[in-house]
Structures are given as structure tokens and as C-alpha cells.
């Protein structure tokens, strides 16, 4: 999953976990496919219908603030989103996303617009905006997170390593 390609759905600042998946749904089921029909519904109804597999969510500062619900990255993943790009992330969401194997990319998103097509090189650490012919560097992950993401999430990482190393 080193190279990703897709189109952009643009969101604003401070997209909290209640917006990503409302508390009123997440306690009901573990079926992420079912929950993913409600992804972002309070701020962008029918979002899940618009997404094609591999598309990107691009947002401003503080994406994923609020609760610790891991359903948030899981429903984004289940909706078919290939990666989330933001100016900055709230810390629990960021950790959860890496733990479940959803690529999250901290970079300057200010010039990325709705509908832009992006190519992302995860290992290389850059985002290429195909529509605007712009190359955007991304903030590197701490080494422990690189290892977790590389192994496909924390569960796989622990099975492979037999513990934290």
C-alpha cells in the first residue's frame, strides 16, 4: 500500500469523532460496514454514497478530536477511504488510525481542494497533487509508528514481535 491514488473530499477544521461516527450509532453494532453508512452524516449527509474506493479525506487542523472511539478510523476505512490527510491530528485518533492500519498523513493541506486528484507515496513521505501539479512533503512518523503501520497495524505487529520492542 505504498502508493495511493484517489480524489479528494475536502473537510474543514476540528472534525471531531462525533461527526465521523455519531455516538448514537456506535454503541449498537460491531459491523463497521453498516456503521460506515453513517460516516460524517451530521456534517455531510450521504458522504458514504459519494466515496469511491481509495478516495481521500483532506481536512484542516485537529482532525479526529474528541472521543477515543476506534470506530472513527474503522468506519473511515470501511467506507473505502484510502488515507486521511490533515494539517494536524488529535492524538488519540492518530494513534488509533495507525493501530488499525489506516494511513494518516500530516502535511500542509491548505492548497488541496475538493475533487483534486492526489498521488501519495507513503514510504517516500510526499503527496503529489496531480490536479495542481504540486508536491507536498509530509511530516515523518515516529519510528515505532512506522513499524506498526508497516506490519499492517498493532495486532499484526504484536503477533510478529511477540510484544513491544
Amino acid at each position: 500500500m505504498n502508493n495511493l491514488y484517489g480524489k479528494v473530499f475536502r473537510f474543514g477544521e476540528n472534525i471531531n469523532t462525533d461527526y465521523i461516527i455519531s455516538g448514537k450509532y456506535k454503541f449498537k453494532t460491531l459491523d463497521m460496514k453498516e456503521l460506515s453508512q453513517h460516516v460524517m452524516e451530521d456534517i455531510r449527509p450521504d458522504f458514504y454514497k459519494e466515496v469511491e474506493k481509495g478516495d481521500f479525506i483532506v481536512a484542516g487542523e485537529n482532525f479526529g478530536c474528541g472521543s477515543s472511539r476506534e470506530q472513527a478510523p474503522l468506519v473511515i476505512q470501511a467506507a473505502g477511504i484510502g488515507a486521511v490527510l490533515a494539517q494536524s491530528f488529535a492524538r488519540i485518533f492518530f494513534r488509533n488510525a495507525i493501530n488499525v492500519g489506516l494511513p494518516v498523513i500530516e502535511c500542509d493541506t491548505s492548497d488541496i481542494k475538493e475533487g483534486d486528484e492526489l498521488k501519495i507515496d507513503l514510504e517516500g513521505g510526499w503527496v503529489y497533487n496531480v490536479t495542481r501539479d504540486e508536491k507536498i512533503p509530509s511530516v515523518p512518523l515516529p519510528p515505532v509508528m512506522v513499524r506498526i503501520l508497516h506490519d499492517g497495524g498493532l495486532a499484526e505487529h504484536l503477533k510478529k514481535e511477540g510484544g513491544f520492542s
Binding site: 476540528n14 487542523e61 477515543s68 488529535a90 495486532a155
Partner: protein, 417 residues
């Protein structure tokens, strides 16, 4: 030698660590609730977990959807009970209380310890000098299996709150002031270390209201020193011996913010962000439909007692619904024994089980379209209580109680002087 967070993480990692370093730390206690335990079970199975490393250091709490309002929820609750039945740990079932009251109340978050919980408000236990923070279900499952987790040692912002709070102004107002001044992302990834005359003057319960809301600034932890009040709170509760951690004289802070809060008025967080705070004057007289007193922020005995003091002999306005959710069974019982519950119920309260109540729209008390709610909770996000067309204003229990009588947002200093 360092900040409180650096001291605690150094002690756990058994090496001197500083902000920015990655540490693998043993975890002293772990917790998950009914919104996060089901995914913890999924992760535990995916990791091929066979047993808990320390079963006596884990509790699962059914507090968000209590009693279960839906069959899907009931089935997940059953899964939780089976998980604890099979692997050990303590289950707190419906009516026992809110996780962030139960963990400290049962003496499982102690000074100098590292605690993680699968709930963002786990930072509450910082009031007990505990390095406690919220994680997701996968991190929690990993800690159940290995007894450890990893952290990036946070930089610390030191907040010194001096002065003396006016009568009618409470720790909730300090918490809202803190979030307003730092903004909802002003401390992302960082630790808040709180001290000063105001903090010293507050009870441990009241301090928890402030550390509870540290995450609303993006912070990893909100932590305070261990003093005689903490020792007194833990005297009959602590499950283990403990040793508090003090910051060293030469600790390095990202920045130090000093404030005198003597003139702080009651504060309100307006829809739909917690840092959208205003002084009460700006909103006084606003019509309200529902008042909610409870949650891990303000459902403690002191909060209910303050509300009862204001409401005793009074009745809430005829067009206001008033909901109270005690934060634990112990609090519920004490409130009954002391007459607090009597005063609240006579004043018109609809009392729910000891639980999260209507805070997050999972069980009950969902407002209708266009309604205005005064809540003592910690979040007012759009749709938080289950309806995107309602508005949530956050306030102290005193502001909430006095407003309930008046039917309008009202300044509790009028009755507290």
C-alpha cells in the same frame, strides 16, 4: 529530574527520559467502557490473546448505554460480561457508575502511576497525580496482553492559577476558562501541569472536573501534584501503596502561563465547540428547555450537593425538564442519605441510573429540534446528545441548577453571595 510527566515516565521506563523520547512503559491499571470494550475484544482476539497479563489491574464498565435501550447494545453488553467472565478483571455493570468516577473511587488510579483507559476522558485521574490518558481499543488490548504500552513523552505546559474564586464560581468555570484560553487544539500531544492557589483550594472532586477537561485542549494528560488532600481522598480507597511524583526545581516547560482567577465570572461554552466560551453575562436570560447535571465532569457528590443547596425548597420552571445522573452508586447512596436526592427530586428532577446519562446521546434524554440544553458535561459538539438540531451550552452545576429554577440562563452568584 523533570516535569511530573517526565518523572512518572522515567520511573516506569527505569531510565531518565525527556520530552520527545519514545518510552515503553508498564501500565498500572487499564479500563474500558461499553462503547470501547467490544472492539477491545475484537483486537484481543486478533492479537491471539490467551490471558490478561494482570487481571486484577483491569476493569470494564457498562456506563454509556444504561440500562440498555436497544437489542444491539444488549448483545454487546453480554459480550463484555462474557469477556470478563472468561479472562478475569472486574466488571462494573449497569447502575454502578461512570468509569471515570469508579476508577478513582475504587482506588485504582494512584499518585505516580501510569493508567490508560479506552475513553478520552481518562485524563481525569491526573487530579490524583496519575499519568492517565485515553487510548483506543487496540492499544488497550495490547496493554491487557503485554502489561505495557508506548508513549511519546509529552512536552508540558505549566498552568499556574492563583487568586481566590468568587462565591458562585467553581472548578467547572476554571475548566471552561482553561479550554477557552488554550483553545481546543492548543495543547495537542502535550501535558498540562496545573498548580497555584486556586488548585490548592479545591477539593479532589473539584480538581477532577478540571483534569477531566484537559483533553478538550488536545492534551494527553492534565496532571497535578499529590498533596494532603489527595492522600486523604485515597486513605480508605487506595488498592496499592503509592508514591507521588513532584516536578523538579529545574524542570523544563514548553511554557508557563500564570493567571489570577479572582475576577473569573461563571463561564459558559456555547455551541458547538468546547472552546467557544463566554462569560455568563453575554448569555444571561437565554430561554432554556432542558437542564442536565451529571457526567464524569460534574456528577460527583459535591456537584449534586451544590445543586441541591440551590434547589432546596424551590421547583424548576414549569417548561424546563431537569435530569440528574449521579456519577456512581456510592454517590447516589450518599446523596440519598444526606437529603440531597430528596431536595433534587422534590424540585422536579428526573433521576437516571448512576451512569453517563444523556451526555452522549446513547441512552436517554435526547433533546428535540431547536431545543436549548444547559449541561454540566464536557462536550457540546453538534449532535452530541443525539440531535444535531439542538444546542448544548456547558456550565457548572450551580449555574445549571439556578437556571433550571429561573427557566433562563442565570448567574448563580445572585444566590451564592
Amino acid at each position: 529530574m523533570g516535569t511530573i510527566s517526565e518523572e512518572i515516565l522515567s520511573n516506569h521506563a527505569e531510565e531518565e527520559v525527556r520530552a520527545g523520547q519514545i518510552v515503553i512503559s508498564p501500565v498500572d491499571f487499564t479500563m474500558s467502557q461499553d462503547g470501547t470494550t467490544p472492539l477491545t475484544i475484537v483486537a484481543f482476539d486478533k492479537m491471539e490473546g490467551k490471558e490478561f497479563k494482570n487481571p486484577d489491574r483491569y476493569c470494564a464498565v457498562i456506563d454509556h448505554s444504561v440500562p440498555s435501550p436497544l437489542e444491539g447494545v444488549s448483545n454487546l453488553h453480554t459480550k463484555m460480561r462474557e469477556f470478563i467472565g472468561e479472562y478475569g478483571g472486574t466488571l462494573y455493570d449497569i447502575g454502578d457508575g461512570v468509569c471515570h468516577q469508579l476508577v478513582p473511587e475504587k482506588g485504582n488510579a494512584l499518585p505516580g502511576e501510569v493508567v490508560i483507559g479506552a475513553d478520552s476522558h481518562t485524563c481525569t485521574y491526573g487530579a490524583l497525580n496519575c499519568f492517565s490518558t485515553g487510548v483506543g481499543s487496540t492499544d488497550l488490548a495490547a496493554a491487557l496482553i503485554t502489561g505495557k504500552t508506548w508513549f511519546k513523552v509529552p512536552e508540558t505546559i505549566k498552568l499556574v492559577y492563583d487568586g481566590q474564586l468568587e462565591k458562585g464560581v467553581f472548578s467547572k468555570d476554571v475548566a471552561l476558562y482553561m479550554v477557552g484560553s488554550l483553545t481546543h487544539r492548543g495543547a495537542t500531544y502535550k501535558a498540562l501541569e496545573l498548580s497555584g492557589e486556586v488548585i490548592d483550594s479545591l477539593s479532589v472532586e473539584a480538581r477532577m472536573t478540571i483534569t477531566n477537561m484537559a483533553v478538550e485542549t488536545g492534551a494527553k494528560v492534565g496532571i497535578m501534584r499529590c498533596d494532603e488532600k489527595v492522600d486523604a481522598y485515597l486513605k480508605e480507597r487506595a488498592k496499592r501503596p503509592y508514591k507521588g511524583a513532584d516536578p523538579s526545581e529545574d524542570a523544563e516547560y514548553e511554557r508557563i502561563v500564570e493567571d489570577d482567577l479572582s475576577d473569573l465570572p461563571p463561564m459558559i461554552a456555547k455551541p458547538h465547540e468546547v472552546d467557544n466560551v463566554a462569560e455568563i453575562e453575554e448569555l444571561e436570560g437565554m430561554d432554556i428547555d432542558q437542564v442536565f447535571i451529571g457526567t464524569c465532569t460534574n456528577g460527583r457528590l459535591e456537584d449534586l450537593t451544590m445543586a441541591a443547596k440551590i434547589l432546596k425548597g424551590e421547583h424548576v420552571a414549569p417548561d424546563v425538564r431537569f435530569i440528574v445522573s449521579p456519577a456512581s452508586r456510592e454517590i447516589y447512596l450518599k446523596a440519598m442519605e444526606s437529603g440531597v436526592m430528596d431536595a433534587l427530586v422534590k424540585a422536579g428532577a428526573c433521576v437516571t441510573a448512576a451512569s453517563c446519562g444523556p451526555c452522549v446521546g446513547t441512552a436517554n434524554g435526547i433533546p428535540s429540534d431547536n431545543e436549548v440544553v444547559i449541561s454540566t458535561a464536557n462536550r457540546n459538539f453538534k449532535g452530541r446528545m443525539g440531535n444535531i438540531n439542538s444546542k448544548i451550552y456547558l456550565a457548572s452545576p450551580a449555574t445549571a441548577a439556578y437556571s433550571a429554577i429561573k427557566g433562563k440562563l442565570s448567574d448563580p452568584r445572585e444566590v451564592m453571595a
